[in-house]
């Protein structure tokens, strides 16, 4: 998603400078919601304020909305068709694969050391075996993050809180980003 936006917004239209792209990536990637929508808000707001942000969101949301809407109308007609139901079951497997890929991508940027790996496994365990609402797990993660960084600093250990960007490896899994 980001490379496509970069080409359009930096190289073709010159709306943003190359240096601003790192701000864009960090804000769009960390704020809740899809990376595409977040980037649209960032660029729209920088160029034309709140109205620009609204228009940019409308622009990036409308095509997918239209596709999804047509798909659901189509599905309504064929809901009881055996072939369509079977195809959807097959696609189910593909979607799981895409979700796993997203998890793998996230893991690559987030599991930086033992503490973060333990946190990810603990989160999965809590989700699988208890019925605690995910919002508390998210809040817990933020608290633990601040705490761990503080403790490590007190112990004078070096903590990497962000992964250094390695452009070449980022490019490899570009396709699945189409869905984010």
């Amino acid at each position: 998603m980001i490379p496509v936006i970069e080409r359009e917004v930096v190289q073709k239209r010159k709306w943003l400078k190359q240096e601003e792209i790192s701000d864009l990536v960090s804000v769009a990637g960390t704020a809740p919601g899809g990376v595409g929508v977040n980037s649209a808000v960032f660029i729209g707001y920088r160029k034309a304020g709140v109205a620009g942000a609204c228009m940019a969101v409308l622009g990036i949301t409308l095509p997918t909305f239209a596709i999804v809407y047509l798909l659901s109308v189509f599905y309504l007609y064929f809901e009881n068709n055996h072939k369509i139901a079977a195809a959807l079951k097959g696609i189910h497997g593909a979607i799981i694969a895409l979700i796993l890929l997203a998890a793998y991508k996230m893991a690559k940027t987030s599991l930086l050391d033992i503490s973060t790996t333990v946190m990810a496994i603990a989160a999965l365990g809590v989700l699988l075996f208890t019925s605690i609402h995910p919002i508390f797990i998210i809040a817990g993660g933020i608290l633990f993050g601040i705490l761990i960084v503080k403790v490590k600093e007190l112990m004078r250990m070096k903590v990497r809180t962000v992964k250094e960007t390695t452009q070449s490896t980022e490019q490899q899994l570009l396709f699945p980003e189409y869905y984010i």
């Binding site: 701000d23 804000v27 769009a28 960390t30 704020a31 809740p32 919601g33 899809g34 929508v37 808000v41 960032f42 707001y45 942000a53 949301t61 095509p63 997918t64 596709i67 999804v68 798909l71 659901s72 599905y75 079977a86 959807l88 079951k89 097959g90 696609i91 189910h92 497997g93 593909a94 979607i95 799981i96 694969a97 895409l98 979700i99 796993l100 890929l101 997203a102 998890a103 996230m106 599991l111 990810a120 989160a123 699988l128 609402h133 995910p134 919002i135 998210i138 993660g141 933020i142 608290l143 633990f144 993050g145 601040i146 761990i148 960084v149 503080k150 809180t161 962000v162 396709f175 869905y179």
Partner: protein, 177 residues
């Protein structure tokens, strides 16, 4: 109904970290809790949402909104899901660009990101194999696993575009099920 839809997805929108994959279980929970959509229907919705371009959580919102309240429902649910991104990103860009790079924020995300990883993994497991049947190993789960592994292999090894893989697995589904 419409305002309920809006607020449910607004709430989910505010915590949809990690491109939306992480909130799939949360959406299911809300739907189940309210008796709006059952597990099997939800699975179909996520499959449809996943095969469309755009974030899976927003697409699910559109589909669920349509399912529950027609075209107005689809619009209201989608706006609810997107609005938090709009508000939060504007706030960050307008006021906290400097703080965004602060140590405290970095430390928060250092802790948040692994949790999101766990959430996405859970979404895959839950959506894939845990939610729909009492017996673990059925023909359907086995074949789903096979298709899933095949897709991962095709995307990672041969760098196929996801849409190609999705169409292929649709045909595989017709043959297998």
């Amino acid at each position: 109904m419409l305002s309920n839809l809006f607020f449910v997805f607004l709430k989910i929108g505010f915590i949809s970290f990690g491109g939306g994959y992480a909130v799939i279980p949360m959406i299911e929970r809300e739907m189940n809790h309210r008796g709006w959509i059952d597990a099997q229907e939800f699975q179909q919705i996520v499959s449809l949402a996943g095969m469309s371009p755009g974030p899976i959580a927003t697409n699910s919102a559109t589909l669920i909104g349509f399912d529950l309240a027609g075209f107005p429902g689809a619009i209201v649910a989608t706006i609810g899901m997107v609005l938090p991104s709009l508000i939060l990103v504007i706030l960050i860009v307008a006021f906290c660009m400097r703080y965004h790079r602060s140590k405290q924020v970095k430390a928060s995300f250092y802790g948040l990101r692994p949790i999101v990883t766990g959430l996405i993994l859970y979404a895959a497991l839950h959506f894939g194999f845990l939610s729909h049947s009492e017996t673990v190993l059925t023909w359907t789960t086995l074949m789903t696993m096979l298709i899933c592994i095949g897709c991962l292999y095709a995307i990672l090894k041969y760098k196929l575009h996801p849409i190609v893989v999705i169409i292929a697995s649709g045909f595989a589904g017709i043959i297998l099920f």
